[in-house]
Symmetry: C2
Subunit: 362 residues, 2 copies
């Protein structure tokens, strides 16, 4: 498997030119237990937990003992081969994560063993016990931060933050509407909007436990929470009460749940699609475009997490982690021991009903 | 019917307070032959050609002997009662039109009998031989302008102009894609884009005569014209040849024809919907929003033809009419004598297959 590990994380020529005999302290990483896939396919069948041998820690590398890494839909979409940006195969799964610095290369400054760090920008291969990457991929985080939050703050909370900021000039007192409100992005939208005095109208699926889900979202600051069936009324806006018609909507479901978001939007409003959990397209009437003058667009986090924006991105992550440490931003996660990875993956894939975000604890 | 005419064009109190006995020259209009509807419903059954008696020409009024007025889809949508902005009933049909000034009220300056004028901003009631409206509704037009062009330049050519200008900062060498390319807007898009060095990719329906339609559009300046069935290929972009991927698309059809426009658009492109001839919604995949970062929005001319924008709007109309007089902008119309109105309406409603824009000649 040594070859595999080199192929995944190092250019191939390193394999052909082994380092000289000058062994430095910490020049090699510990062996790593990793979730590997060699072909694209169903994530639960193509992923295997394997042992990878130690690899060289070069001058600018940092070796991190991972503490937490989430399973996001984009992770298993990469494994399925349906995500547009994918690592070459074979590859170790995972894209977000946080851990403790184990050792650093000779040219690394500002990071020391024991520091809490997160992968930033996110980068492939976080589902393993020890990750070696160039120092530019590691962002030092305040030690008071729970590792599972540092491991999960990029893909979902940052999406929520940017979606609230980037499309409509919202003011205190305005409203947004979203479906999939129990998702991690959904929970963050509620809290980040609330911090700015923005109301949220939240749509969730009809399912056992939806009353409990409503209560939880209201505790996070949701103004209104409806199940889809509650919105089977002639004019959904009659339900708004004192909440103003929303100018901005978020859709992570598609199909009828997207139509509900469109129905709530005010004239000239914008719906941002950032996911498609129902695997159904968005359908829009001609009159919604012409007479209601709605705009539909999409959010893709990639533009915020590319290397050109690393500093800007880290400032936003620090802001979000600050809110987390102050107790102003929180979200549901289920922490799962690494040796139960495949159960967590099954939960994440929806095989065991609705589940909170699955986060591997190493 | 006198009552009807007063109700349509004058506040009701004029009926209760008849003018004094001081009769001035031209103080009353000629009687008018008009297409009237008293209820909403199928346009071919609820419209009747009636004689309306003379009405008073007040100090600021202008009485125009109409020369030409088109039948636009929005006209029969108003009659059907499905258009959001509709005149009170009973009403005379029509919204655009041009004619010759017959007489003017005592306070009217700058307009004289014999002048060629168009209704601007467009205003209800142009389907009749004599129209009396406040002077603010009449825009004087160069006498070298064919009346049928002055009568039709607002709803469709102005839409084409604004759609090219308002959504994407197009540069010479860029491309746009549109369906419904044989429509009046479609023909104008081709020519107005060409004037700016912008390529057009045009999609038309499969039907008898589509080869002829292609040839006509190419003569207007179309770079590429495809029938929908020709686009039943794996990758429509392989057909582009030297034309760049379009950044902007126009949809006036909906359904599959809208999907074809989306397929041609480049990453980050925008599709503007301005009609729905197929009466089918627009369906968009989640990945089109997220990974292709497409934006979908709508165009509604109303914002350009409201009274606040009259001067700005008239400048644009003069520009378009100038192009028309120079032979740089033209479009298909079928001129129909007023006494064949119901045949023209049937053609406009699509009962007799595909037909050019129907324009009543009085």
């Amino acid at each position: 498997m040594a070859c595999v590990r080199f192929l995944t994380f190092k250019p191939f020529h390193h394999l052909l030119r082994p380092t000289s005999g000058q062994i430095r302290a910490f020049s090699m990483s510990p062996p790593s237990t990793a979730v590997l896939y060699e072909t694209h396919g169903p994530p639960d069948t193509v992923t295997k937990v394997v042992q990878l041998p130690p690899i060289e820690i070069k001058a600018n590398d940092v070796c991190v003992k991972m503490l937490a890494a989430p399973i996001n839909p984009s992770d298993y979409n990469r494994i399925q081969g349906v995500y547009p940006v994918r690592p070459p195969l074979p590859a170790v799964g995972g894209y977000e994560g946080a851990g403790e610095v184990h050792s650093v290369g000779s040219a690394v400054e500002g990071l020391s063993p024991g520091d809490l760090v997160m992968v930033s920008p996110p980068s492939t291969g976080t589902w393993q016990t020890h990750v070696v990457k160039d120092k530019s991929f590691w962002h030092k985080v305040d030690k008071g931060t729970p590792a599972e939050y540092a491991a999960t703050v990029t893909i979902n909370p940052l999406s929520a933050l940017r979606m609230i900021e980037d499309y409509v000039n919202l003011k205190s007192g305005d409203a947004v509407v979203q479906n999939g409100a129990t998702s991690m992005v959904g929970q963050c939208v509620i809290q980040l909007a609330k911090l700015r005095g923005i109301h949220t109208i939240n749509i969730i699926r009809d399912r056992a436990g939806s009353d409990l889900a409503k209560e939880k979202l209201k505790k996070l600051g949701a103004d209104e929470v409806y199940t889809e069936s509650q919105l089977n009324v002639k004019n959904v806006k009659s339900l708004l009460g004192n909440v103003p018609e929303p100018t901005l909507g978020f859709n992570c479901v598609g199909g009828d749940a997207a139509t509900l978001v469109l129905k709530f939007l005010r004239h000239g409003g914008t719906m941002v699609t950032y996911g498609g959990m129902a695997k159904k397209p968005v359908t829009v009437s001609t009159s919604s475009f012409i007479f209601k003058e709605l705009t539909l667009t999409g959010f893709y986090l990639q533009k915020w997490i590319n290397p050109d924006k690393t500093e800007e991105c880290r400032e936003m992550l620090d802001y979000l982690l600050g809110l987390i440490r102050e107790g102003k931003l929180k979200y549901d996660m289920e922490l799962v021991p690494f040796n139960e990875f495949h159960t967590a993956l099954d939960k994440s894939l929806g095989k065991l009903g609705s589940q909170p975000k699955q986060v591997i604890k190493f």
